[in-house]
């Protein structure tokens, strides 16, 4: 091993360890192959690149190309660095390289800012190290073209992660992407059509990860991430936090190795990378209302079969603040369900003009109110704030929201309206299908016209964010969700011009094609989501009636059936069947109903609420001087009621080796979930708090370090409960700790740690 400096790196003992690890786990794929002494072999190949161009009104615009000016070598010592002794070469304008070496070996391509990405024509902005395994080089060298790409790195990473073989993981990656094994490690630029689209989409996602892996390695970050350390965050030992909840007193982490960084980039803060997550949003039921309920047998079945978080807290009341928090980890002082343009003035003025009111072409029946001024003066249009949607798009990743029972032809930014031309028959529940009913419930003679408000903008996690509504992909990414009571006749709607070929179930189509988002929010209508609205109609033969199952306990049955419909639909899809793709389903509620006890956690302190608050509790943001300070631009921020109790939270995955029946009882909130999603899709960097959006950065460490500007957190009796963490089950509850609860939970408070510390999101 050379102990030289090269392209800004210093080889250290760490790299020795890395090399040893590689030799230890890679089996026959690692190391160099033996060849006759003195013989020289030529290895020719290319280094592939991808480029993302913003502005697409559909899926992200991605292109394949080459890296000009990459440093390529046979990394004979497997340290991830091209030392001078390894005789590196530089790729030409077409990304080509030719190595002349004594023996075929694994290749790395070191892509620095002096290189050029031909896919964009621009200089490379972030350092990235890619590699191709010995097995791949051996295979491809014979054919004359070794392709170094994020795909080649990924295959070797999977080999190391799963302790399998090159051929196995090449086939697995091909399956994940949906191309042939030959295509997946071939030159991306030579692919065409769907194969190229699929391959470049994955290569872009992988490039994001390998850039991040390289950053971790370059910065010699401590491994693992602080909040993934088993037991608890080791950085808290010297900070003013509750001693009862923080028992980890030493930080034994070591600087990360090259190979550790390769894996860690796919497991940010202990949250594994998923390809897609489907988040099914339900409404307003606390844990006790669902857990064990005879009205929700199917959800309970999923609770028992899958994994769950048992102390999951809403962040507000009513819906809109909760959905807004799910979209971007803050509710911005919104405390009602009002329209997104309410009190949006000055810097918050609405930019997506014209607003979709009834003066607009085709929107004569729009219910949108052009102006909205409320006594409280709380701005409802969130301008310029980070959120999951724009964060995904900015990385060339995808998002979708699927909403049920919209009026065909309506604008997504307006609530659904009543249409008497669209009618459905009341749901009838045969004996034994509704909490053990002995007689049928429902009236087959009752005809129900489509009511107003089945679709509500308050139930859209991106609606409040101006930059989401203004995003070029807004219309493309907002889609229909089937399964509704009025679906069969929706296209006979009379309120708007029904678009030609209107698809009432784009979700079903997307599941078949696989063209879904990384994050997919599924919003059932206000009957199927258990919310309840008034649905009345006429009975043939005379009289009027009310829908059998859009209120009371019956709506829980209805929602339970709808959830089952969605889960089964996802689980029957080719997407779910492709086990090389990691797919998760989340079943959750926007809020509980708790009125007593601890109604919120993890980023909120309930006691700071009210006009009474003597303290300014505005959120912290990082100024241009690098210091965190209160953002005073948010009017009325103190008023939020900060939580509405606990609800069930189910996670189902398609991973055959994933642990099941895992129960994580640590306290989490919507802010925790947003942090978790940022980790899952690598949208933030745990070493930089400011990269986590809004209140999702409020970890215990962050709060302790900024306590002078966070008066609402002072004098805390339980700093762990107050703070945000990823939902990774790394924290171990101390043996004598009694969990805090809201009145949405009636089971006895747990004392001590969970039965297992396996992660709810774990894939093996």
């Amino acid at each position: 091993m050379a102990n030289l400096q090269y392209v800004g790196f210093t080889t250290t003992l760490t790299t020795i360890a890395a090399a040893c690890m590689l030799a230890g786990c890679g089996g026959s794929d690692s190391g160099t192959s033996t060849s006759a002494p003195g013989a020289q072999v030529k290895i020719s190949g290319v280094v592939n690149s991808t480029a993302y161009t913003p502005g697409s009104t559909a899926n992200p615009t991605l292109a394949a190309g080459y890296i000009k000016g990459a440093t390529v070598c046979v990394d004979s010592n497997n340290d991830g660095i091209c030392e001078a002794s390894e005789n590196p070469v530089t790729t030409d304008a077409n990304g080509k390289f030719t190595l002349t070496v004594s023996a075929v070996g694994p290749i790395i391509a070191d892509i620095s800012s002096s290189a050029t990405n031909t896919a964009s024509g621009a200089a490379v902005t972030a350092h990235e190290i890619l590699r191709a395994s010995l097995a791949q080089v051996t295979e491809q060298q014979a054919a004359g073209l070794v392709v170094v790409s994020p795909m080649s790195s990924e295959v070797q990473r999977m080999v190391e992660d799963n302790n399998t073989s090159y051929q196995t993981e090449k086939a697995n990656l091909a399956s994940r992407v949906g191309v042939t094994a030959a295509q997946v490690l071939g030159d991306l630029t030579t692919l065409t059509g769907t194969a190229q689209t699929l391959a470049v989409t994955e290569a872009n996602a992988l490039n994001n990860r390998y850039v991040y892996a390289t950053k971790k390695f370059d910065n010699k970050e401590l491994y693992p991430d602080a909040l993934a350390v088993p037991g608890g965050d080791p950085e808290l030992a010297s900070l003013a936090v509750s001693s009862a909840t923080n028992t980890v007193t030493t930080d034994t982490r070591q600087p990360i190795t090259f190979l550790q960084a390769q894996q860690a980039a796919f497991n940010v803060e202990g949250i594994p990378r998923y390809d897609s997550v489907f988040i099914v949003m339900l409404e307003n039921k606390g844990t006790t209302t669902i857990l064990g309920s005879q009205y929700a047998p199917k959800i309970n079945g999923y609770l028992q079969a899958g994994n769950q978080f048992t102390s999951y807290y809403a962040t507000g009341n009513p819906s809109e603040p909760n959905y807004t928090a799910l979209g971007g980890a803050d509710d911005w002082g919104i405390t009602d369900d009002s329209q997104w343009n309410c009190d949006a003035t000055g810097a918050n003025a609405v930019q997506d003009l014209p607003v979709p009111d009834n003066t607009q072409p085709g929107l004569a029946n729009s219910p949108f109110t052009t102006t909205c001024t409320q006594a409280s003066g709380i701005n409802h249009n969130i301008v310029g704030r980070a959120n999951l949607f724009t964060a995904l798009s900015s990385k060339g990743l995808r998002w979708r929201t699927y909403s049920e029972s919209m009026n065909p032809g309506q604008d997504f930014r307006t609530d659904g309206i009543a249409d008497s031309a669209v009618t459905a028959t009341d749901h009838v529940y045969a004996p034994g299908t509704l909490a053990g009913n002995t007689t049928a419930i429902g009236n087959a003679a009752l005809t129900l016209p489509m009511p107003a408000g089945l679709y509500k903008t308050k139930h859209h996690p991106g609606m409040a964010y101006q930059n989401v509504r203004s995003a070029p992909e807004w219309k493309f990414s907002n889609r229909t969700l089937g399964g509704g009571q009025w679906d069969a006749v929706l296209t006979s709607g009379t309120k708007y011009a029904v678009p030609a070929g209107y698809n009432v179930d784009q979700f079903g189509s997307d599941l078949q094609s696989g063209d879904v988002g990384q994050i997919n929010f599924l919003m059932p209508d206000q009957c199927d989501d258990m919310h309840s609205i008034g649905v009345t109609g006429t009975v043939s033969g005379g009289g009027t009636g009310t829908a059998s199952d859009c209120s009371g306990n019956n709506i829980i049955v209805r929602g339970d059936n709808y959830v089952d419909y969605l889960v089964k639909k996802i689980q029957a899809s080719p997407l779910w069947a492709n086990k090389q793709k990691r797919i998760a389903i989340v079943l959750m509620f926007d809020e509980g109903t708790a009125t007593t006890g601890h109604n919120s956690c993890c980023g909120w302190v309930p006691g700071s609420s009210g006009a009474a608050a003597s303290t300014s509790t505005n959120p912290l943001s990082k100024g241009t001087n690098g210091q965190y300070a209160q953002d005073t631009s948010i009017h009325n921020y103190n008023f939020g009621n900060h939580g509405h109790g606990e609800s069930i939270f189910v996670v189902l995955t398609n991973q055959a080796s994933a642990p099941t029946k895992v129960s994580d009882s640590d306290a989490y909130s919507h802010f925790s979930f947003v942090r978790t999603l940022q980790d899952m899709f690598q949208l933030a960097d745990p070493t930089d708090d400011s990269t986590y959006m809004n209140r999702s950065k409020y970890t215990e460490k962050f709060i302790a370090q900024n306590i002078l500007n966070l008066p609402e957190y002072q004098s805390s009796a339980d700093t762990h409960f107050d703070s945000v963490r990823p939902m990774n089950h790394a924290y171990v509850i101390p043996a004598t700790y009694r969990e805090l609860q809201s009145s949405d939970v009636t089971t006895a408070a747990q004392v001590g740690p969970d039965a297992t510390q396996k992660g709810v999101w774990a894939v093996k």
Binding site: A240, V241, S242, S243, N284, G316, N317, P318, T335, D336, S376, T593, A594, T595, T596, G597, H598, N599, V605, P606, G607, S608, S609, G610, A611, A612, A613, S614, T615, S616, N618, S621, G623, N625, Q627, A629, Q630, D631, T632, N636, F639, G640, N641, G643, H644, I703, A704, I707, L708, N709, L710, P711, E712, Q714, S715, S716, A717, D718, F721, D722
Partner: protein, 455 residues
């Protein structure tokens, strides 16, 4: 409990002191880098607006009364959570300070979230069906805190000013008149109607802005905010359970303490109106007149829901507001007519109104017993046991409106002599819990390890 998020505790009062008094306290002495956003004052109360400063003066000004002896604070004493400083059912006022009121003094704390009255107000719990709710005074007849001020200022048995102009003239002559002009303009006294409106607005601003009207500084607040000193005792937690349990106390059904309207939380009221038909209080002189019935929302003080004739069907008769229970332990007179005077008696009324009506309502036609049975309760309003006779249950509500009585637990109209909803132990715990709602709580240095409200 050492080593918590408490570094700043001793620093902040210093910062406050350093910048106190001035109107510009948007920054503290902690580092304020010259970039945006700048840090703001952390624990300092926002300074009162000019309007609120005027309101402060008005609130305590006894010259604003016909007697010259009564200010707002006379009945709404800041030392008693802005309610009465005594246990009188009604207070005396008027130009001679001898005119009795007709209802108990409500606390002025935690009014900032109260919406105007509506017959079908959305319930803050998000579950209950809409019903009469909101508004100020026991019957909701006033829509805003500002509007409400004219009632005490002008009532002949309260501050007894002759007219709005009378009030304006007194303010014009007051020492703080310059402040008033500063707040509302140099011609603020020119138009009497406008000037009276400013006075009302100033009183509202003071109540909305000043911390003392909504301190949220009870033990319960420490508890829900997860703060040091907020550990509820076992008895208090049991009491909380009784408070919320629909099968025992069920207090939370109306004295709702969850997340509510417009970002409110834990107000211990849902702003709703119920008829629970408390006993007539003969200590109120108006009640000496047998034909006088205070029926809340349906009158007589409120006039927009009057029955078409006495006895005509009217769902609003007998409805009074469910007040906040914050600082309930500081009160000396409970319910709209102040007929109950202790928490102990109050809780027992809820528990035994139906099972032992004879201790709450008068009996006619019976024979008093010289010595009651050993198990005859002594906590009631009536401690005389009768042989025979008829209990005049619901004696403050015309019979035509008995159907308006709220059937919710614990007042579920169960049969006399049946088992009451709560046990004595549960009521004891409930009182312990209600005591945690008193503002200004300071955790004791050495909390007791035993006691009625501890074990």
């Amino acid at each position: 409990m050492p080593n918590l998020f408490r570094i700043a505790l001793c620093l902040l009062p210093l910062a406050l002191a350093a910048c106190g008094g001035g109107s510009d306290s948007t920054t503290t002495s902690t580092s304020a880098p010259a970039t945006t956003p700048a840090p703001t004052a952390t624990t300092a109360s926002a300074p009162l607006s000019l309007a609120a400063q005027v309101g402060d003066k008005l609130f305590f000004d006894a010259t604003l009364s016909g007697s010259g002896k009564m200010s707002c604070a006379t009945c709404h004493d800041p030392n008693y959570a802005y309610a009465a400083p005594n246990n009188l059912a009604v207070q005396l006022g008027g130009t001679d300070m001898l005119q009795p009121g007709t209802r108990a003094v409500p606390s002025l704390r935690y009014k900032e979230f109260t919406p105007p009255y509506a017959d079908l107000l959305d319930n803050p719990d998000g579950v209950s069906v809409p019903g009469p709710g909101g508004g100020f005074t026991w019957d909701g007849r006033s829509p805003t805190l500002a509007d409400q001020t004219s009632i005490p200022l002008l009532s002949a048995n309260e501050m007894a000013n002759a007219s709005p102009a009378d009030v304006v003239a007194k303010v014009k002559a007051a020492s703080y008149a310059p402040l008033f002009l500063q707040a509302y303009g140099s011609d603020a006294f020119t138009d009497t109607t406008k000037a009276f409106g400013y006075i009302q607005a100033a009183l509202q601003a003071y109540q909305m802005e000043d911390q003392s009207f909504h301190p949220f500084s009870s033990k319960f607040d420490l508890y829900v905010a997860n703060k040091i000193g907020g550990n509820m005792t076992a008895a208090e937690l049991r009491g909380l359970s009784v408070f919320t349990d629909a099968n025992t106390g069920n207090c939370a059904s109306c004295h709702y303490q969850g997340a509510g309207l417009n970002g409110s939380s834990a107000l211990f009221t849902d702003f709703s109106y119920e008829n629970i038909s408390v006993p007539r209080n003969m200590d109120i002189p108006a009640n000496q007149n047998a034909s006088y019935n205070d029926m809340g929302v349906c009158g007589p003080l409120r006039t927009d829901h009057l029955p078409t004739s006495l006895g005509a069907p009217n769902a609003f008769c007998g409805l009074f507001k469910a007040p906040t229970l914050r600082n309930v332990a500081l009160r000396g007179a409970f319910f709209h007519n102040g007929v109950i005077h202790t928490l102990y008696q109050l809780v027992h009324f809820y528990n035994t109104r139906d099972t032992n009506p004879e201790i709450w309502y008068p009996t006619v036609g019976g024979t008093p017993r010289t010595t009651p049975d050993a198990n005859f309760p002594t906590y009631g309003l009536i401690t005389t046991q009768y042989t025979g006779g008829t209990v005049q249950k619901f004696n403050d509500l015309p019979a035509a409106y008995l159907g308006n009585i709220d059937p919710q637990m614990p007042l579920d109209s169960r049969a006399a002599g049946s088992t009451p909803p709560m046990t004595e132990a549960q009521m004891s715990d409930l009182i312990c819990f209600l005591n945690t709602l008193t503002d200004g709580y300071q955790p004791p240095a050495n909390p007791p390890t035993h006691g009625t409200c501890v074990d």
